[in-house]
Symmetry: D2
Subunit: 341 residues, 4 copies
């Protein structure tokens, strides 16, 4: 018996990747697609011409999305933040599992959510049920979860890059600098001047300098793992390419530690994690494009006492839809890598 899944928010880039990945997955069946549509229900393939001859499911209008609860076992929500939290309770009450790709259930403290997203949380109760869906840290909790808060793309790269050092107490938590770069699919599928080809192409720029909404999510997780408050300086940038994130992370070491030991530490920490690769070469985003890998390498700068961590992933896969499938695999007892290797 295959698991019956639905996707709400099927017409964005994360939704598209979910469809693509789930079609290859032998243990599930996509039974329903839904999205905000300009007009009536439409087949998905005029929206994504790539899917012609591959999937012909209708994409029903978002207003009727809740009705999906009757026919699915699990629903993926690839919706903008604030929209997810309105629809999640209905699925939970029907006893359905939910993997939410938005930010709505990532922060354990509704007050912090409200401070960064400028909106009241409409469903604080479900926050407590939600498990932060980073399998490398929370594999056991995920297996038993009913609601997964799928991590943000930047946070996945940053948390995986810092955790082993932080856990060992080796870095000064007052001086964490994170410089992240993303491909343009990160801004979504809605046309804008910012993402208009002749503006974005051949240009490199920072945005949300020190104010990106992924900051509290990163600080929450690092704080938990490091058992103390952590504040990061975080600057995000756009590079003229479709996909990929590279986070260059600057950590002040409390004591000297050489590269060999750093690599051992990371290799050991991730020894049972099939999607984290510790590398000796500095990673290129292209090496992980369309894969669920997070590639990490390290370099110590003896002159300044810093260690530089380079952490790279595909923002739409390990940074979104691939990680969501990885979480689903854990929730349903599939092999962790099924359909995403």
């Amino acid at each position: 018996m295959k698991v019956k899944v639905g996707i709400i928010g099927a017409t964005g880039y994360a939704g598209k990747e979910l469809i693509r990945l789930l079609l290859r997955h032998p243990g599930i069946e996509i039974v329903s697609l839904s999205a905000k549509l300009p007009g009536n229900t439409s087949s998905i393939s005029p929206i994504f011409p790539e899917f012609k001859g591959i999937i012909d499911l209708p994409c029903i209008n978002f207003e009727e999305a809740a009705s999906i609860a009757k026919i699915v076992d699990l629903v993926f929500l690839a919706l903008p933040h604030t929209v997810s939290m309105k629809i999640v309770p209905e699925f939970l009450e029907s006893g359905k599992k939910v993997i939410d790709l938005s930010a709505d259930f990532r922060l354990h403290d509704a007050a912090i959510y409200e401070q960064w997203y400028n909106v009241q949380h409409s469903c604080p109760k479900a926050i407590n049920e939600a498990v932060y869906g980073l399998p490398e840290l929370y594999r056991e909790e995920i297996k038993k979860a009913g609601l997964i808060a799928n991590p943000g793309c930047y946070p996945t790269s940053v948390i995986l890059g810092i955790v082993p050092l932080l856990k060992e107490g080796l870095v000064d938590t007052n001086h964490i600098i994170v410089n992240s770069v993303s491909g343009v699919s990160g801004v979504g599928r809605e046309p804008s001047l910012k993402a208009h080809f002749p503006e974005r192409n051949e240009s490199f720029a920072a945005y949300s300098v020190g104010s990106h909404r992924h900051i509290p999510e990163i600080e929450q997780e690092l704080g938990k793992l490091g058992r103390q408050e952590v504040k990061i300086t975080f600057v995000t940038h756009l590079a003229p390419m479709d996909r990929g994130i590279l986070s260059t992370i600057y950590l002040q070491l409390k004591k000297e530690i050489d590269l060999k030991n750093l690599l051992s530490l990371y290799n050991e920490f991730y020894s049972s994690c099939p999607f984290v690769r510790i590398r000796e070469e500095f990673p290129e985003t292209k090496w992980v494009t369309t894969t669920n890998y997070c590639d990490i390498s390290l370099k110590e700068d003896k002159r300044t006492g810093q260690v530089i961590v380079l952490s790279s992933l595909d923002n739409l896969i390990k940074g979104a839809s691939g990680q969501a499938v990885q979480n689903m695999n854990l929730m349903y007892g599939f092999e962790e890598t099924l359909g995403i290797r």
Copy 2:
């Protein structure tokens, strides 16, 4: 009477930009081109088909380049490091002015040069004559110089971005983090797998992590201006685009200072500098492409006490050939912006 100039190293990207810029300059005449050529002397336009009908000068083989000394007033050297230092003395002895775009005369201390470039300096005497050609800092010295060490592309963006704060003693000089990104023309015109289109395109990666040869140049200049030793953590990256550098600089403030005052400080510092623009928006590299501007903006992160400086320029213009022309303008009493605005 026009100034007679020669370009040695005319077939790389910096050489090409020099030709393009100098052709528009009303005060000079290009009288000689030279480069390492696979065969005999050739016209420049088969090498750069863009120049057909614009410039038909022969490009003579590098071996005969020294003979140029007889016919020029000024020579631009767009050569690899270690090659420049061998040819510079000949021009100086003939009483000719030299603008050297290589790294050979940028470091005042031959020992530091030898440590970073792994080669003995063959002309340490000339190091003392050389003026570091950053007009925003050394305008008066440049006017009188016979040998200009034209700054590196990254150092120009970094030094201009940090100096005003450093000079005021407002930042912790032990925690300077510089994250720089360059377009691919920065690696030069020699084909390589690293710069092969299908490898480089759609990819973002770090290189020379903590070990880039521009580090001692930046530290020398910041140390002089800050009147104390400065060490920086410096990581360089390649973005899939032709041109442009964005340096994202992280500085720990010694005391709180708000954005308005930061902007005033920078505006005042650069008030007489026609090619530095202090902006309120975060700069895009595309805004300065093919121009001699360095665009700078600032943002304070109150949560962490950092100030983030964004500094952007075209690596081939303000980061190389445009700055060389700016230096030439100062040396010959032309208006500083002549031919490069």
Copy 3:
């Protein structure tokens, strides 16, 4: 006394290039900018951050654009088709010169205009006054013109590529195939899914197959010059790059003619045209980027009796704003290349 010019439609890509080119032109002064704006009159530099410190003119709202007639000698209209024809009469009646970059006055026959643009022509009288602004063909008429219909980007590349052969009667006018490719700036500055970076990047596609509105303009000019009706098969494509057009033109030769003679024919035809370069290598669009050149090369295919013409230009310069300045130069007795070389 400098010529006083205004630009209406200053906020699109053609307007931007006009500003950039005209700022370098020693014989004119930009006295007015105007465009459809979301709000009130604004300075141009927040709209195009590149212009900070270079031009600070206000950009007045399009509704008040007609008032410009009082202060300018010449106005450039960089407006969508159908908008130009409503505003042109006012300027002509005030005795002002107009260079219209839209399609509104390119077709001599209002009926054909109406058939291809699906709208009635509101100013058919002015059609007769308009000169088709292709200096290589109509230099003398342009000098005396009051209203210039500045050619389309594709037509400039196609007409210049075909005319010498057509005029000699050497090609079968029933079998002209034109395959053109443009950079994405050709679709304008209005955001759309079609030009959204993650959709357009890394993709190549045809559009308006056999139905592009530049067809009648090309056929009109080729018919006039060939003294017989000409019909072309014309397919346009978008390549993932900012700028540049390459037209690959397939012509059936009526009799054999070798490459040397073809090149002579073209060289002679364009001997007094400073912006057409006949090349022996196949042209790359990058060679003409940001220049006013049209580069042309030829190759005969002896196996099939076809001659293939490759014609390349920058769609925003020789295909729009550069050509407009070239026309202005002719109208005011400036050197033809002034400010655009």
Copy 4:
């Protein structure tokens, strides 16, 4: 029992795609990799860092490649032309099956091969055994073949685009114009100035105008299917993107036929072909990137009596390695789509 396969020429782009596709294929096992290497045998993952943790097979030096014959059932040759024909006989004599991705066995007439490739064919006997591996035309022959000549990337797109019309005798075979555009991976993995990022990026250009070596292969197949000699005018271009081919094909219709009937003709012709999609929209190369599809659409130009066929595929998949796997599936009785859907 899995089929044991080897790949010779594993370090080019076609080899890389073969590895990637075959790793996903449930019916085979990769037992050997080989390639021209600068030094000794090496693991494949330092060559393609993407494969770290996925495949660790050694890549043996090409000189010892023949020894592979003992351990494989089938070998894929992803080698330059003229190299394949030297190694093929050894495998055939050992009774092993060969899928050759080079051009060496595509042309049935050794004289034509020698004329276009300027080299004598060293193994004309095997030419007769070779089956042209285009499953849409030769499915039954492929099932029984011992040697597959895997078609070129351009020919696959062109032949599939023309055949249905040609077979019905509907087009003038004297006026076939094919305008093809490819991504840069088509030039291979060897660095060159032509494919150097700053040269290739942001540029569009034609190459091998009327002289591309894929011409005889296309003419051979069209001639066979149309039962008469066919000559095509063929121009190839490079677009600044990694992958994808779009062929825009211009055919003169002998009699009028409307779009609806054209689409019916194509749909019927390819009704049993899982990898050809006849579309109503003009195809974008991005829709087929990383897939084994060939997308085709049509448009009649009533004004000129031409029909324009647009045919799009991924040059490395349906144009090379995916098609090779499709052929393998047929040869071994696997489902045609196994591992490549």
